[in-house]
């Protein structure tokens, strides 16, 4: 902490806010922020100072869809989905005349409906085709095929959302794993949110091996103590849409 004179604190905080603090220096600064309250105050002062500069720009109205997307992401209007969102699961729910009558197929239909609903929500978000040629998603389902988490695998990050169906046990964390097809030990992708949405850094390994499945394990708080899943609860596959 010695090297953090007032002058040094200000130099680091100001460049952090400006965006010119890079690489290891930036990561080190973020760690110092967690440790030192006084540094946080210096940072806030800089945020307050520099970010008033934004006032100089004239407002540009975003497209109206943006508010819809925010609401969807926050799960505000799941009960009252707009017409274009409802249409898709209805269409995919009856693709063929012959619905399987056998009870053993019921779970599968349920799963398909749940997946279709989630797909519909993602499809309803307008995306430019050049921006995201293919989107990968996965839905983690519980015993009754209820969707517990949705996972959108982006280029650089995984956007994971816990649904209202998911009820966390107290004092437990839930960890996401990649199961590779080549039989190597599962690779942790990070802890899952217990509610709402969380963005996880995309582990580079996802692009380097063939993925057999994703798995969710139940772990003590803070995640797996030994780097391997403690109790695997669910598995799911990644779907490319």
């Amino acid at each position: 902490m010695n090297y953090l004179t007032e002058e040094r604190k200000n130099a680091l905080a100001s460049e952090y806010v400006l965006g010119t603090l890079h690489g290891r220096a930036r990561i080190r600064f973020q760690r110092l922020l967690m440790q030192h309250r006084s540094l946080r105050h210096v940072l806030w002062q800089w945020e307050s100072r520099l970010n008033s500069l934004g006032g100089g720009l004239a407002a540009v109205p975003p497209r109206p869809e943006l508010w819809e997307k925010i609401q969807q992401q926050l799960g505000f209007n799941t009960a009252e989905l707009p017409a274009n969102v409802v249409r898709l699961p209805q269409a995919s729910a009856t693709p063929h005349k012959e619905q399987p009558a056998n009870n053993s197929w019921k779970w599968l239909t349920g799963a398909a409906t749940a997946a279709a609903l989630v797909l519909a929500i993602f499809l309803a978000m307008p995306q430019s085709p050049s921006e995201r040629l293919s989107t990968q998603i996965a839905v983690v389902q519980g015993e009754k095929a209820q969707a517990l988490w949705s996972i959108e695998l982006g280029k650089n990050e995984l956007v994971v959302t816990a649904t209202v169906n998911f009820k966390a046990l107290p004092d437990q964390d839930y960890e996401l794993w990649m199961i590779a097809a080549d039989g190597r030990p599962p690779v942790s992708l990070g802890l899952l949110p217990k509610q709402g949405k969380l963005i996880l850094q995309r582990n580079a390994i996802l692009d380097q091996v063939k993925i057999a499945a994703l798995a969710v394990s139940q772990e003590p708080l803070g995640g797996s103590p030994n780097g391997q899943p403690t109790k695997v609860l669910y598995t799911t596959e990644i779907v490319t849409i």
Partner: protein
């Protein structure tokens, strides 16, 4: 909503889970935040993604606002800028085109009032007191999210000088704001 007090009322209601207040806050601030994000990311989709992420964070973290972090809109700007900077860092091939920046702009932006007038006038005045080149470098970093190396490329000044100019410029800004 035309003052920081109004914004504070909406933010505090948002922290209590009031969706209508959150929507109202969005209506009054989204244009400003989108303008900032668009300047940095230069592409409509990316800029909207950053604003979307920012509002999701604002919804979840509304209770963490403190006056010490600036006016409500300044705090929201902080969140959008950090998100946009993260996205710039993540995007290897940045800003291939500038096609989307020419947006219709509303000159009579009512949101201007939301940055407390005093803060905004002060920072603008202090910026204007910097030497031309120093001001330009800080503006490039602030509004465009440029790295030192990019500022160096853009201005033709050596990297070492860019770093020094920006650092000294920020020191001068601090002295000026606090004077």
């Amino acid at each position: 909503m035309n003052s920081n007090q109004d914004a504070l009322r909406l933010l505090s209601a948002t922290a209590q889970g009031d969706r209508l207040a959150f929507e109202e806050l969005y209506k009054h601030t989204a244009g400003k935040l989108y303008a900032i994000s668009l300047q940095m990311l230069r592409r409509r989709e990316l800029a909207e993604d950053a604003v979307q992420e920012a509002f999701v964070r604002i919804w979840h973290n509304a209770g963490e606002y403190q006056q010490e972090k600036g006016s409500v809109l300044t705090w929201m700007t902080t969140i959008v800028r950090y998100r946009a900077l993260d996205m710039l860092r993540a995007t290897k091939s940045r800003r291939e085109s500038d096609e989307d920046v020419e947006e219709a702009e509303d000159e009579n932006s009512p949101e201007k009032e939301l940055y407390t007038e005093r803060d905004r006038v002060l920072i603008d005045r202090c910026m204007s007191l910097l030497e031309g080149q120093q001001r330009e470098m800080i503006q490039l970093a602030y509004f465009r999210g440029f790295t030192h190396a990019e500022v160096c490329e853009h201005t033709g000044s050596p990297l070492g000088s860019v770093k020094t100019w920006i650092r000294r410029g920020l020191e001068r800004l601090k002295r000026c704001v606090e004077a």
